[in-house]
């Protein structure tokens, strides 16, 4: 079969090979910019100005490192993360890490439905109607419908994020100042800043992403020799997430922060797009938020149910009947119901839910990271593909940083500073 290689010219071969393995990284990246993400970045920009922009330089490095680890494990072992955790660490560790994952993801699903509820407010539709309709749609789409065909619609609609990038140029911000803020790490010893920082990290590098990314690479059946192309997919994906996030913060800082607007509802966040869309900024924002929420809401409950059933050894898959895979369907359905029902509580502060869920992601991430690091450095599993020293240093530093930040946050919660 080696002759084939000679026939197709080498440049085309590279492009074709890249296109054939492309997907998992870029899709994961776009799901990553979900309701929780948009909100967290908006609040970060509106309340802290440009002072969080510097965090994207370390975040992008860490995101690439961690996503690459998950993919490498998928390609080398051909197994999902939950599978590996179960096989290497046994029932106890699996049970508790699945507990962590379910907890974090219930928070995320709540955030997605909050996003849907918030966009209902902006569209002028009644909240319960849109939330319930979306919950039913998500359930139906995955169980009875064809998710794969709808995925392209979701991905296409992600073009919405470009509006932030355009806005970023329309408002003509002070680029010299932004550059210096981005390159100069700074830290404020305040509970609110700490929450924001953990939230930004947690929403960009969420625990669920590692499970989802690894599962999609396994499902795609990417082979070791195609791996170099897949790595490119990850890097592009990571840049997409971070550039979008960077511009959301930038735009919100340049419009909302400047005028002292604090984001209490989605309406406030939508104002950031006013320089671009004028009076239509609410509709534009609502559309983007709605798509992001629905996209992530169709992936998260399913991805959670898959991981948990995989780890616990229960039957799983949407091609099984309820009787064959009762745990799978119960888990899947109850995560949707729980997430949707919660946001229907009258007068619930949607922005707060979206924000807190992302902080929870940040606090829970190190536990999943430690497991990933132990797995990827296991020679019996990974052979010559264990982590390099640079990778280990970056990943362990992330773990230590996140734990330290969380401990400080705990400290501030119990001993609030007199302001």
């Amino acid at each position: 079969m080696s002759k084939l290689k000679d026939i197709i010219s080498s440049r085309w071969r590279h492009i074709v090979l890249f296109l054939s393995v492309m997907g998992p990284g870029i899709i994961t990246a776009n799901v990553d910019n979900d309701a929780g993400g948009i909100t967290t970045y908006s609040v970060a920009g509106a309340h802290f100005g440009f002072s969080l922009l510097w965090s994207f330089i370390p975040i992008i490095v860490v995101l690439i490192v961690i996503q690459e680890m998950a993919s490498r494990m998928a390609v080398v072992t051909g197994k999902g993360l939950a599978d590996l955790i179960r096989e290497e660490f046994g029932v106890k560790v699996t049970f508790y890490s699945m507990f962590v994952l379910v907890l974090a993801n219930i928070g995320n699903v709540m955030a997605e439905f909050s996003g849907i509820a918030a966009s209902a407010d902006l569209f002028g539709i009644s909240r319960p109607v849109l939330v319930i309709a979306c919950a039913l749609f998500v359930w139906w789409l995955v169980v009875k419908g064809n998710y794969k065909s709808v995925e392209k619609v979701f991905l296409g609609a992600c073009i919405f994020y470009v509006s932030y990038i355009i806005s970023g140029f329309i408002t003509k911000p002070d680029w010299a100042y932004i550059t210096s803020e981005t390159l100069r790490p700074q830290f404020q010893f305040k509970g609110a800043y700490l929450i924001m920082l953990i939230g930004v990290i947690g929403t960009t590098i969420a625990p669920w992403m590692q499970f989802y990314q690894q599962a999609s690479v396994v499902e795609k059946g990417i082979k070791l020799k195609e791996y170099a192309y897949h790595r490119l997919d990850i890097i592009i994906g990571a840049f997409v997430v971070n550039i979008v996030a960077f511009f959301i913060i930038l735009v919100c800082a340049d419009t909302l922060f400047k005028h002292g607007v604090r984001i209490e509802t989605a309406k406030d966040a939508a104002l950031a797009l006013k320089p671009l869309a004028g009076e239509y900024c609410y509709l534009l924002f609502a559309f983007g938020l709605f798509n992001a929420s629905l996209f992530a809401a169709s992936i998260l409950p399913l991805s959670t149910a898959y991981s948990v059933c995989e780890g616990m050894g229960w039957e799983l898959g949407v091609n099984k009947s309820f009787k064959e895979a009762p745990q799978f369907y119960s888990l899947y359905t109850s995560i949707i119901i729980f997430g949707a029902a919660f946001v229907l509580i009258p007068k619930i502060p949607l922005v707060k839910i979206m924000l807190i869920s992302q902080v929870a992601n940040g606090i829970l991430l190190p536990f999943i990271l430690i497991l990933m690091l132990r797995l990827i450095n296991n020679k019996r599993l990974m052979g010559d593909f264990v982590n390099s020293r640079t990778y280990n240093t970056i990943a362990w530093l992330t773990v230590i940083t996140l734990i330290t930040l969380s401990l400080f946050l705990l400290l501030f919660t119990f001993f609030p500073q007199p302001n």
């Binding site: 084939l4 072992t77 051909g78 029932v91 050894g313």
Partner: protein, 439 residues
């Protein structure tokens, strides 16, 4: 299979109950804890062979002890007849081809050959006979998980409060060890570790095996596949869809791929090769046995929807000068490879189709007669370029479900059996039905 859990004082013991118990040497010193156990097959079951003692909490090290040195096993500790100095601790475990309970069975996926599905092992149920441990069942139920988590007595009490006769309490999901096929991979041969005495895996029909394979990770799929014999391999291969076929061959490497293609029925091989790029096909044919390659390259020249593209070349043909006796002998020789032995074709020196007969006629005929005497009055044949619809019409008209295919010169090229065109017919019928519905 459903079994009752034995009472506490019986001789059954779970792996999880032994996990971490102290290992005591002959001088009553604790030398480490029970970490793992290597087993050896005895008949349908497996017995403890080597004890792995673990020690250290951060920097772990392990020692192997032959089970003959174990003098007593209880839930409180395992006693050795060795002194502490007889144990050599190493930082790594190394048992390549042998089965160990912790590494190869516990928490891993295994195949239940009885129910023919892939399951995950929550705990291992063993029989304590004197000081030997015999693996009896694997636990795949919720109770196994709860026990491993250390909540068994608590959860049992809670469940009893609500439902005294709950299935959870009295119907544990234990699968007999004799039905268990481990999937761990032998790093030397890259096949699944199988014990020679059990041929369980081969008892599973190829169709079910291919479904089991789809549930596994690509690595285990490959290892399981490599463990099978060539006949099963080619059967499974023909059941996979084109994407999986390609991926499998890519992983298998050239030698094994070609071996499989050589064993594949020609119509299946043509279906597969037809999906590959031209250059690859030439390359593959170059590696195959020249006889097979020649046949396949001819078949590949026909359009996929024509008789030539659908036919197989695994038919039985005899020379027109043969006797009935010789014909029957040829049938016996070719019976394994041929697609059907019902229809026998009679040809001349250049393989021109001269007539055909059926097995029934041959059996009742005089063995010494010429084969032409048993020939059918009329032999319906089709041309290599004929379309599915025409073939179906002919089969229906003459009520013959196997038709010979000839080229422009009347040379027998292959045969078409009804199953070759059946799936095409179903597609056509289904399309028509849908159109009607829409109208």
């Amino acid at each position: 299979m459903v079994l009752n859990y034995p009472k506490k004082d019986s001789m059954f013991i779970f792996f999880s109950e032994l996990e971490g118990v102290n290992i005591i040497d002959k001088d009553n010193n604790t030398v480490g804890i029970f970490y793992d156990m290597i087993i050896e097959p005895i008949g349908k079951y497996a017995r403890s062979k080597i004890l792995i003692v673990g020690t250290g909490s951060w920097q772990k090290s392990y020692a192997s002890v032959e089970w003959s040195h174990v003098s007593e096993v209880t839930q409180d500790g395992i006693r050795l007849d060795l002194a502490c100095s007889g144990l050599s601790f190493l930082p790594v475990l190394d048992h390549k081809s042998e089965l160990s309970l912790r590494q190869d069975i516990l928490d891993q996926q295994v195949v239940d050959t009885n129910n023919q599905n892939v399951i995950r092992v929550n705990d291992i149920h063993m029989l304590l006979a004197d000081r030997d441990l015999v693996v009896a069942h694997v636990d795949i139920g919720l109770k196994g998980i709860v026990r491993r988590l250390g909540f068994e007595s608590f959860i049992d009490t809670v469940v009893k409060l609500f439902n005294k006769n709950s299935d959870y309490l009295y119907k544990p999901r234990l699968i007999s060890w004799k039905h268990i096929q481990p999937l761990s991979i032998n790093p030397v041969s890259m096949t699944v570790k199988v014990d020679v005495s059990s041929k369980q895996l081969l008892d599973i029909p190829a169709a079910d095996l291919s479904e089991i394979m789809l549930e596994l990770s690509p690595k285990h799929r490959l290892a399981l596949f490599k463990t099978l014999d060539i006949v099963t391999k080619s059967q499974i291969f023909s059941l996979l869809d084109i994407k999986e076929q390609k991926s499998l061959l890519e992983d298998l490497g050239q030698k094994e791929s070609v071996e499989i293609l050589n064993h594949l029925p020609t119509d299946e091989a043509v279906d597969f090769l037809g999906e590959l790029p031209q250059a690859t096909v030439h390359n593959v044919l170059g590696l195959m046995e020249s006889k097979n390659a020649k046949m396949l390259s001819t078949l590949l020249g026909y359009s996929g929807e024509s008789a030539g593209g659908l036919m197989t070349t695994e038919y039985i043909a005899v020379h027109e000068a043969s006797t009935i006796e010789e014909t029957l002998r040829i049938i016996k020789e070719k019976t394994l490879k041929a697609e059907t032995i019902q229809n026998i074709y009679i040809v001349d020196q250049e393989n021109h189709l001269k007539g055909s007969t059926v097995l029934r006629r041959l059996i009742i005929a005089d063995p010494l007669d010429n084969v032409m005497k048993a020939a059918l009055k009329k032999t319906v044949s089709i041309h290599v370029d004929d379309e599915v619809k025409k073939i179906a019409l002919l089969m229906d008209k003459y009520k013959i479900y196997t038709l010979p295919v000839v080229d422009a010169l009347g040379v027998l090229a292959g045969i078409i059996t009804i199953d070759d065109i059946f799936s095409r017919l179903v597609t056509i019928a289904w399309r028509r039905a849908r159109k009607k519905k829409q109208l």
